[in-house]
Symmetry: C2
Subunit: 787 residues, 2 copies
């Protein structure tokens, strides 16, 4: 599967061509899951029967029915022999085993990515003399001379400038460091983009839009294959290390899904059934977030709320198990070196006050506005990339953005550090001994050096803090702009960290502002009563956290999962209310500008056939308005149950490109009998011509149970009831489309036949619905590409 | 609604009669949601149109479609005027406002119940001299003489014996206390059961089975009414205080749902739409668990996993909001006096070791076995109560059980204390200074009184602990037996606390055993390496917690929500793995004895029409095997679209008791046109006879769009297309039942028509499916009672 990719090198442009090519194969079909197949079990007579073409939509009902048949078979057999019983037990536990493996593999990979990214990021700045394979932090851990205060300065670690010039002072050393930083950044970025292009074009981007589409039942072969996995893992490390404004959290979901998909091949149950495999992939999405943030419960809710389409309760429990296994695997690898599970561990000491809800809601508004603007800007930029010549030079684009990022980022310590480090620092609560610039407060006179008094009390800002503030303001501006062009480039790129960083900077700025306001006006109207001097009444770190949640919420429109992930970072129910207030405001504000989150917007940009489960169908059209054929179209291509010849059927199939045909009683009485797939029809006729004597062009094709009486001298009829689906879904022509859409979503249909008073009128496919929805929203209905 | 209950006093026996009476009204119907009603908007011409009979199932598709129509209407109007725009905005926010109110009300009620139950429970033992309205704890809080060690002994609090005899010593005082304890217990129990019988029979039991059924779309009028709320709140306090082996956690879910249902009446949107109201009720179930355990996330997951049937993502977010509001309301009331949110706050200090998974899994097996046994025993006992004369004397039964409980419980301090207190004590980790009997360890010689050394290190058991252990063993036995007869009596009774108590006792016993084993064999094979002397290697409190989770899991079969609730109690991800291991084992073991949890078992016992969403339909039958009419039945009662007279229709309706009739083209060509409800038909004909001139028995009833040509001298036809549902659901006769069941579950259907080659064959109702499933499982199909 992945090999195919290697050779064909499909990328987005190819995807479109592919789609246009396969467009004609619309009108998908249902295979014989009904009693037809029970009466005449063909047992996969031809390889490939029952599987799907690339870029097509699966039929959930058929897949689930197939799995139930398989399960019934195993249960029935298990009563016969001990071997079969053991098989039945191993079958029941294979799901759990698979989850365990997915958790272990994804956890290990995430740990490896963390360690490698740390190392390469530090490589841009300098090298460890004890061994080049140590990161800055590891290098100085080993150093015995390290004291608490300058933990990140130790003689073993030398910047490149220091190594070459022999001194860490001076402009020359600085410029040398600057240049080498840019060179490394460009090198990493170049490596990342060329590897992606050469080995797995699908490895670029965050992967979440595609995973959402795949989970809704779409097939993209190779998207979760082993080449994608390997390439994504390696290039993700490189992309993060290059200092681009991107995160590794979203791509980790893709990596976890790749692991799951590959491990599915170990178990027949999951290998052969697209619906079952999607259950595993849903769990894998939970695993991805679990390892990204160390938040297993948040991960499960993320999968449930954001990416999954079909999420039965059995999957919930298994996802939780897998997410936990992954989180503990990651912890035993201990990539952050603090045996913490979570990426940003925060511990706040002061409670928040009701008045503070006002700035929190303000942060929510900021997050919502930024989210909405970001989506619009990013989509506009991606559209330019898709439609103009820019899209043809992805390597140049990546290198240019990397160069700009590195050039601008280096001088400002807040943009130079990685996104995760930045957020970590912004979330941090300043204690008295904290030496970071952000904690550059003036020491109040009444607190002696012995540390008596509330060490976390609000203090006036000092010069260090003022420097930090304007640097942060510049960093905010820069991050807001550069992220728009970064997300969507041909390298793996996540959006969680950059958007959280934007929010955290804004939050911290507001938090410090509030803190100073409270310090100087502690008897003012607002602060009176709850904010005495020497009290720790404002926690700027909490503001940063709330801001991060608001911006992430504005971009992705996550709700419960966002709050739970943040809750798992702090571990205190206390702070859920601020987070919730900000997340709610952010979502409302952002929704006012457009109801789509960034992932849905990218799905639409790429024209994937994704039927959004969250949005209600608001229009009052009827099934008859959406179905094909339209009034001006040629009549619906149907087969009759016992009056067509082999030649007639072949002529009909040749003259159309539909992938399935309804079978009716007769042309005069078009009452629906069943539905037959184009491919099954062709294969069966071929087969019959080869093996069955006397099947000629004039032979009757019979779909009915009892073939009609026939002239004794005619050729024998060809009986094809076995390949017909006897239970096609139907709605009446007067069914409101909101109900029809509901049926499509809840049952996972590909197509549905439309009848009037028992007579067949037409057909509605998922694509017809999406086109109709696009038309209602005044968008181009041809923007929906695939089947 | 509740008033009706007051007068009719429906209880379980009546429910059955009711069911038999209404049994004949099978074959439910769909109202005209299609274009029929759009063309001819009747605007509720007759009161009651579009509502449901008691003990009937709602049609989700119709309700949701109704709400979409309403929403479309509001959106359309909002563009016209400012008032309409404001109406549209207030409509959008009414859901959030409702959630806020539900959270506040349920939180306040839960706080009140907690405080009242504490007070009355202590009332059984003694009285506060400072004022009878103080509970034991509050009384001694106020006392200045209280030291840490004997916090629960203060002169202001006197036991009844002490008050009467003047001394707390002596056998006479003890016996007096004993007697007064029993008298109070009987008094509370008597009050509870008589109040329930007099005011709201629905207030008894835990309420969760009924709420599950209601959420799946069943109507039980008055079950969530204001009389039920008031009665349940009061009698819950009394029942808990009487010392019976029951908890208030399950009933709190019922209380929260009552609050939600009552508050729904403030908003037209929710009052008039049964489906929308069920969304609110789902959120209320989350609120109930949130206030019961102080676990908002766990509550939401409980609602999602355990009780809800239809849980859209919008509800998830709102439930979370409501659960948080409720939790914070409860905390601001502070009923536990420790400003903790959670019922049992636990903080463990020692990590667990991998070897300990063996006893944890053992606890899981115990929990599973006990759960399975408990369900079987309890259901057997409830069946005896239902079928024999025992059921006629509920007051006697309650008094007898209370007397036995009080008699046996008083002498043993672990059974005398309330279930919640017991669990709290069992979860507790023993520190050196702990004076409780459970911490009666010998002080090792090498630890001096100054408390140097690990204060939590494993120590040898002392005589205090041995006493505690055999008392606990007796308590375990007693709780296991008495809970079987208690759950299901005619008082409000929850099962969470009793089953957790059983598990916690078993866990603590095992934990202490392990601890002693480790202490005496710290160089043994198992403990070598990780369990040095003076180390705290075994935490018996953790065992108690794991045991509690295992037993609760065995009884209710909760999984994710159980683990998350427990996680929220400890707040440490550390202990999720033991909890998960125990919960998984417990579920597997219990499932081996029967897949039903206690709530499903009670649903089945009561014959509610509940289509379990978790279980797969395993049998390979077809729609044609399940549909009515069967081969031996009279043919299906149908209406024809344009050839029946008013008299003919009336005769058909009179001669059958179906609540809906399919409309076909003609008797000769039974192609389906639509579906019409019995009630709508009768009302419309009545109406026409009264108002429309010339409608006589010989008038034609016309359902078709274009009425047939008619003799010019005949009476004018009665056109009823407007009341017909033009989009009835159909499946073909060959559709496998697993797919049909899936459709029923996912779309929330009441009935579905069966066709063959476009001709109508029969009808399948939800009840037919449940009867079929009962038949497959070799149960009496007539055990399904309602519609």
């Amino acid at each position: 599967m992945a090999w195919r990719l290697w050779t064909t090198q499909v990328d987005e442009v190819d995807l479109v061509e592919n789609a246009v090519y396969e467009e004609h194969q619309s009108r998908a079909g249902v295979n014989g899951t009904g009693p037809g197949s029970l009466m005449d079990p063909l047992e996969d007579p031809v390889p490939g029967l029952g599987t799907y073409e690339d870029f097509n939509t699966i039929d959930w009902v058929r897949e689930k029915s197939k799995d139930r048949d398989r399960h019934r078979e195993i249960t029935k057999n298990s009563r016969r022999s001990t071997v079969a019983l053991l098989h039945s037990i191993s079958d029941a536990f294979s799901g759990w085993l698979l989850m365990l493996l997915v958790g272990l593999m994804a956890g290990a990979l995430a740990g490896g990515i963390d360690i490698a990214a740390h190392w390469l990021t530090d490589m841009k700045e300098g090298i460890c003399l004890d061994g080049f394979w140590f990161s800055h932090e590891h290098c100085c851990w080993k150093s015995s001379e390290t004291t608490f205060k300058d933990r990140d300065r130790c003689p073993q670690w030398q910047t490149w400038g220091e190594l070459i010039t022999g001194t860490s002072e001076g402009a020359f050393s600085y410029i040398l460091n600057y240049l080498i930083y840019i060179v490394w950044a460009l090198f990493f970025a170049f490596l990342a983009v060329t590897l992606v292009r050469a080995f797995a074009p699908y490895a670029c981007g965050s992967g979440i839009p595609e995973i959402k589409t795949i989970l809704s039942g779409f097939i993209i072969r190779g998207y979760l294959g082993k080449w994608t996995l390997i390439t994504k893992t390696v290039t993700l490390v490189l992309a993060v290390s290059s200092g681009l404004s991107l995160g590794k959290e979203g791509p980790l979901v893709h990596v976890a899904c790749c692991c799951a998909n590959i491990l599915c091949h170990l178990f027949t149950k999951y290998r052969k059934n697209e619906a079952k495999r999607r259950e595993v992939l849903s769990a894998a999405a939970a695993v991805g977030v679990s390892v990204a943030f160390g938040a297993p419960i948040g991960g499960v809710l993320f999968s449930l709320e954001e990416v999954s389409y079909y999420f039965p309760l059995k999957t919930l429990w298994r996802s939780f198990f897998a997410a936990l296994v992954a989180a503990f695997t990651l912890r035993s690898i201990n990539p952050f070196g603090n045996s913490r599970l979570v990426l940003f561990y925060v511990e706040f000491h002061a409670p928040w006050h009701l008045v503070e809800l006002v700035p929190f809601i303000f942060l929510g508004i900021f997050g919502g506005l930024w989210g909405a603007l970001f989506i619009k800007a990013n989509i506009a930029w991606c559209r330019i990339r898709k439609t103009t010549r820019l899209g043809r030079y992805p390597i140049v684009e990546v290198l240019a953005v990397t160069a700009v990022t590195a050039l601008v980022a280096y001088p400002n310590s807040y943009t130079r550090m990685s996104g995760a480090e930045l957020i970590s620092e912004l979330f941090n609560d300043c204690s008295l001994l904290d030496s970071s610039q952000l904690c550059g407060y003036l020491q109040p006179a009444n607190i002696s050096e012995t540390g008596i008094g509330n060490s976390l009390a609000d203090r006036p800002a000092g010069p260090g803090l003022f420097t930090a503030l304007w640097q942060l303001a510049l960093a905010l501006l820069f991050k807001m702009l550069i992220t728009v062009v970064t997300f969507g480039m041909k390298v793996p790129s996540g959006l969680f960290i950059p958007s959280m960083a934007v929010g955290a900077i804004a939050g911290r700025l507001l938090g410090v502002g509030m803190e100073q306001l409270a310090y100087y006006n502690h008897d003012g109207l607002i602060f009176k009563g709850w904010c005495t001097p020497e009290a720790d009444c404002i926690t700027p770190g909490l503001y940063a956290m709330v801001g991060a949640a608001a911006c992430l919420g504005g971009v992705t429109r996550m709700t419960v999962s966002l709050v739970v992930i943040m809750f798992e970072l702090t571990g205190g129910l206390e702070y859920i209310v601020p987070l919730m207030a900000a997340a709610m405001t952010s979502k409302w504000v952002a929704d006012a500008f457009g109801r789509e989150g960034i992932y849905e917007a990218h799905i639409r940009l790429n024209g994937y056939p994704f039927l959004e489960p969250k949005e209600e169908f608001e229009h009052s059209s009827l099934a008859v308005d959406v179905m094909r054929p339209r009034r001006s179209d040629p009549p619906l291509a149907v087969l009759t149950q016992d009056s067509m010849t082999v030649g007639g059927v072949e002529a009909l199939v040749e003259s159309t490109r539909y992938s399935g045909f309804p079978v009716v009683v007769s042309q005069e009485s078009p009452r629906l009998v069943g539905f037959v797939l184009r491919r099954d029809l062709l294969i069966s006729i071929d087969n019959a011509r080869k093996r069955q004597d006397g099947v000629v062009g004039a032979s009757l094709v019979v779909f009915s149970e009892h073939p009609p009486a026939q002239a004794p001298d005619g050729p024998p009829p060809l009986r094809l009831r076995g390949i017909m689906d006897l239970s096609p879904f139907t709605v009446t022509d007067h069914t409101p489309m909101d109900i029809t859409v509901d049926i499509f979503r809840k049952l996972g249909l590909r197509q549905c036949l439309v009848t009037h008073n028992g007579r067949l009128l037409g057909i509605i496919t998922k694509k017809d619905i999406l086109k109709h929805m696009a038309q209602i929203a005044n968008r181009d209905p041809d923007s929906i590409l695939f089947n």
